[in-house]
Symmetry: C2
């Protein structure tokens, strides 16, 4: 072929490509977005809009534990639609893609997108939300909830079970009216640079795309960020209310423990005076695991029913590890085969739990072999990924659900099935664990955990999970030092689930000699706080207030105190001179009034605490510590307590002394503490602690009011403000005025 | 809402989802794959198959520099289709997805997938191939070429410009006939585990998916891995042949240098006796950069034409940095506006270069302002990503090409346009740089570089790039020590482009005092090897043999000597007890006969070299070093030379002494070296070194044969074996028998 022939060939080839392409050009392909005009109010402050064709899409809200709580939504304050009528726009592409654009202001900060372990602010980031085992930041996490809240007081939920690629204030449309000015990065010596050249010029919107035919958007408004989150949770059916025992202490024993070894461990808890409510059995309880049979390994547990009853008689419940992937040795295998996906996970079947037949097979077996003998809940492992062990994105399932939608919703589906078809059906609450969740999950009493293990990241998870209806446990597994052990046990006792997970390490709460007493003390403190914490969960259930919360949801907290590190040009390590931001995500709110600032890692001896505006007091002593400032706290001694600070006017109900099982809190007398100078009250929630009767209004709110009637004279009053239930906790045995 | 209502609501909701889904169930959704039956032979050992609807897809091969070299393909050895007729299968999904499944054997290893900096083996990995700036391994790299080769002697090319999610021997279909047996991870004490429990049970195939309506597959066969790669390159139009000067020494000056500073730098090269062929100007040569104008900054370069001529008169060429994103200050801006995509990059327009009008606008300007005054080529920066600065995946372009397809092919499009519409049109070769490429790129004389800077990774890049038609320069920019500088300069002198890039560091070859002479020596060695290296590129152009190659392409090399580190269970750091593999990718072949084993990082003083079977000799001394074994080499002195080893029978033509510009090699007398004991020959390629006349057969191959006529008597003979061109290099002035 000579030169001209080659040239012609090339020319023809390019033109051929071009002509194929131009045939497909339409107005929509030219970047013309269409305003979303059809916003339907769900309740006060909640609007949904359907974009494109949703008939093949799964909405996370269809998998929620309950329908939207319309009444509770309408009780929140008035809030207008946060955008102008035509501000949100979309494009349904030729390419089986749906794009949504949501404008943002120049000074707007975005938070959320699920359980993130690297930080709470997600402005100026690109993420692909994809359920995964990593949680190293970005879009791959156990719970990549496609919901964000904005510093401008609204939230947006992409209510579609797809991988979502999202550009948060990243990217500049050429027709934008708010693009920054160009800055020459290399001006000649006599020209002054107009300003810093930015590797990432700020964008004016959120743009998000799914591969699909449609997408549902839900927008939430509120007078505060907390109200926006409340509305998201109420839209999702309200928050989860665990049984009271779920808030006690959990201990998962080594994977290969048998019944006698569990008995010995429990005896040692008693002998050492350590509380325990739940024993978690890890994979060895089953005949085969990875993949699973769900059948008892009789060589380890010869009499499961007797064993479960024996523990229950002592107030201790059993929780069973499982992953959903079904072994050939399982009695379910043959019936489940046609109801499972094209691919295996660890050589086990992947049941399609969108199918009632598949649900029935599993739940019948679970009813009979587990719940029927008193099993209290599950730990659903490995429903997240890695890509290399989970089913591939292209896997097919008999119901027709795509591998992608299944990946995004499998954790939710498992929660939905177990919660509804097992526990709710029996009118027995559960508190369980699961390693993946997604949108609209707040109603499920399942707590997320992770194989990650940085204490700092675990703290960040406490904050980020609270923005999206997710519960998270920074479980303790092991430590390299007494101090680390104590610090981790302190954090976990101030989380949604106080769990020691010894499946591999074999650790016990007292495994680190130097801190045994301090560890016992913090577990006992959690037990004493059960009335306070249980009420926080009831507020979650009824009003959507996360029981454990990021500081940005707290009035008077300034979210703008990040440490900013300027970038320095270096062709070997930083060719675009990019800077970085270090966020303050190491403190959080626990219940209505307690600010928790754990010691951890490099901050194990001394750390800073950023107090919101208002007067704050030391939890232990009642002493004033500051108002809106950043203070430093130190742990001089090895056994020093976890720093806890309380708001002015806070009323905190506690058990008058610790108990070793949560059930013993029922009827137990209370100590009520009052901090600061202002009048205040606490609404104490009471119900039977274990059934769903609260859905029939069988509960009550008992108000503990403290009034400073005159100087030096303080009075505590009790009243029932709502509900028809009976008392749960005992009378107030002590009233402590903490701040003199 | 009471309990029963809630339950019913949930049930209805799940069933609603279910019924929507079941409506869509079809046989295809149940995982039934269809065999690919329609394989069309392109030439001997090459078959293509079209799957689904390709009318909206861009094939990389449509953007290749030249059509398949059918004659050269047919000259390779016979090779059968590597699979049984119905072994490859596909599924065109309801969901705008196309899946392809290619079976693999149990003992099969896969290599390739483009320029990878983390290793050459890609078995048992999941990757999403997506052009990106990272190159941290996995699917995101500057050149994520969707082509792999198999240890079983074949290759597969996914010839479609889409993100490709690929599961390499990962995942187990439930209907597979070759799934491993289940292993209980937690057997009771009296049962022995059947074998190790694997976090990743081996899969039996490659499964790859795109979001699209169709995909083209191309399969290559061969008698060796090298032949498979040759066929891929020949299918892509053959390899690139740089001008001779392109193989000399390159020096990119600081971004803010002006003409006088360049002159001073060149004077110092001359004064210090350092070769130099090309000066690279970085962004400051333009009036505005990031985004770009492509117009000369007259305050730095008042007379561009005069300056370029002045350098050319000294045999030095100019190469211009640019990225394709167009500034408002560019004269092209207004005309390019409607021909550009919906989004900006660094606030610059992103032209749609699938459109002839857009191509013409840019190339007219480049002809006039650059090529017309003698500019030799470009460095096309930042056509790869990060996601957060490039156009988003959902960007739209006026031709109708999707943002995704544009992302995958922009680097190719730039090469296509500049190579064809600028240089080829003028019958002048270029050697240029680009930061992104993809499939079917072997015909483009563009070299990839990266902001990454690990010497180890750069060495790995030399190997991986050779498997997929990519050229790669491990450019030197800076170093923390004299020794590091020398080692990097040694590596870069044995790469496709010997470049020092001082755009930010301002370094010069002599910036590290202790090694100045050793650096000069290795650059001079590269210059002396120009006849040898130029011939290697001619073999690349005509026969598809990569000039610089991974060891696995070398006869007699064992690829199975990786270091395997067993995983240890640790619930905090390694809960699935996963192991890892450390590959030997730190040595490679340079031209026909030289094995290069650079010193680097921790291997700077002492390193191992794994010799292929056959006798090998030290390049410098001719001494025998081993046969098929692993030897250790040491760098006792700071200035020690880069270890080079030569095959038995190798004949190596060099210039009799070094030259400071490649042009001076023309007509220069040769020294021919012979190593070992066996007869051998070298085919020396000769043409004009700068035009495309070779496409009209204006070249010649001159054979240098060494015969050992009898003991101790050796003869060198010359003959012209093919071609019609004239001599390029001078006569053989010296024949050196290196092994006595």
């Amino acid at each position: 072929m000579n030169h001209n022939q080659l040239f012609d060939w090339r020319r023809r080839s390019i033109l051929a490509v071009f002509f194929v392409l131009v045939r497909c050009v339409s107005a929509a392909d030219l970047g013309d977005l269409t305003p979303v005009s059809d916003w339907n109010a769900v309740a006060k402050g909640v609007w949904r809009a359907e974009i494109g064709n949703l008939s093949h899409e799964i909405r996370y809200s269809d998998l929620a534990a309950a329908p939207p709580k319309i009444e509770a939504l309408n009780e929140l304050s008035d809030a207008a639609f946060p955008f102008s009528k035509d501000a949100v726009s979309y494009l349904v592409g030729r390419d089986h893609k749906v794009l949504v654009r949501i404008p943002t202001a120049e000074d707007e900060t975005l938070y959320g997108f699920g359980l993130q372990l690297d930080g709470i602010k997600k402005s100026r980031k690109v993420m692909t939300l994809n359920v995964d085992h990593w949680s190293k930041g970005g879009g791959r996490t156990h719970a990549p909830v496609p919901f964000y809240i904005s510093s401008k007081g609204y939230g947006v939920f992409f209510n579609t079970a797809r991988f979502l690629k999202i550009y948060n204030q990243v990217g500049n449309r050429k027709d934008s009216l708010r693009n920054p000015a160009e800055v020459d990065r290399n001006p000649p010596p006599d020209e002054k640079q107009a300003g810093p050249w930015l590797a990432q010029p700020p964008g004016d919107s959120v743009e998000a795309q799914v591969n699909g035919e449609g997408m549902e958007l839900v927008v939430f408004s509120g007078q505060s960020l907390l109200e926006v989150v409340q509305r998201y949770n109420l839209f999702s059916g309200g928050g989860a209310l665990p049984p009271l025992w779920g808030l006690g202490f959990w201990h998962r024993v080594h994977a290969k423990f048998n019944a006698d070894q569990v008995r010995e461990e429990l005896a040692e808890f008693e002998q050492r005076d350590f509380p325990i409510d739940v024993v978690g059995l890890e994979p060895g309880w089953m005949t085969k695991s990875y993949p699973c049979t769900f059948e008892w390994q009789k060589k380890r547990f010869p009499d499961p029913a007797g064993f479960a009853k024996e523990l229950l008689d002592d107030g201790v419940r059993l929780n069973l590890w499982e992953n959903p992937f079904i072994s050939k040795h399982s009695r379910l295998y043959e019936s489940m085969y046609p109801l499972s996906g094209s691919h295996l996970v660890w050589l086990g079947l992947v049941p399609d739990y969108t199918m009632p037949e598949a649900r029935k097979l599993l739940t019948d077996q679970h009813h009979k072999d587990h719940i029927g003998i008193g099993i209290s809940g599950y730990k659903i492992d490995e429903v997240d990924g890695y890509d290399f062990w989970l089913w591939p994105d292209h896997a097919t399932f008999p119901s027709g659900i795509s591998g992608e939608a299944m990946r995004q919703s499998y954790g939710l589906l498992m929660q939905n099935m177990l919660y509804t078809d097992l526990f709710k059906q029996r009118n027995v609450r559960t508190y369980s664990l699961v390693r993946a969740a997604n949108g609209a999950a707040s109603g499920y009493p399942f707590v997320i955990y992770s194989d990650a293990y940085s204490h700092k990241e675990y703290l960040t998870g406490i904050s980020t999970s609270s923005l999206c209806g997710i519960l998270w446990t920074p479980e303790a597994r092991s430590a390299r030092s007494d101090r680390e052990w104590l610090n981790r046990m302190q954090t976990v006792c101030f989380s949604a689930m106080a769990q020691l997970n010894a499946w591999s390490s074999g650790k016990k709460p007292w495994s680190y000699d130097g801190v045994t007493d301090a560890v016992r003390e913090v577990i006992q403190l959690r037990m004493r706080l059960l009335p306070y914490l249980y009420s926080a969960f009831a507020e979650y259930q009824q009003q959507g207030v996360p029981p454990i919360r990021a500081m940005i949801l707290e009035d008077g907290f300034s979210a703008e105190q990040d440490e900013i590190i300027e970038g320095t040009l270096d062709s070997e390590t930083n060719p675009y001179a990019m800077g970085k931001r270090i966020e303050k995500t190491d403190q959080y709110m626990f219940g209505r009034s307690i600010l928790v600032a754990p010691f951890y890692e490099a901050q194990a001896i001394e750390r800073e605490v950023q107090l919101p505006a208002g007067n704050w007091y030391d939890f232990y002593t009642g002493q004033w510590v500051g108002n809106g400032e950043t203070i430093t706290v130190t742990a001089a001694g090895l056994g020093d307590r976890i720093p806890l600070f309380v708001k002015d006017g806070a009323v905190i109900p506690m058990l008058s002394r610790s108990v070793n099982q949560a059930d013993k809190a029922i009827g137990h007398p209370l100590e009520v503490r009052w901090y600061g100078k202002r009048a205040g009250f606490f609404d104490l929630y009471e119900d039977d602690g274990q059934s769903f009767d609260y859905e029939r209004q069988v509960f009550r709110w008992r108000r503990l009011s403290v009034e400073s009637v005159k100087a030096q004279a303080v009075r505590l009053e009790e009243s029932i403000v709502s509900g028809t239930g009976q008392a749960m906790f005992g009378p107030v045995g002590r009233f402590s005025v903490m701040t003199e």
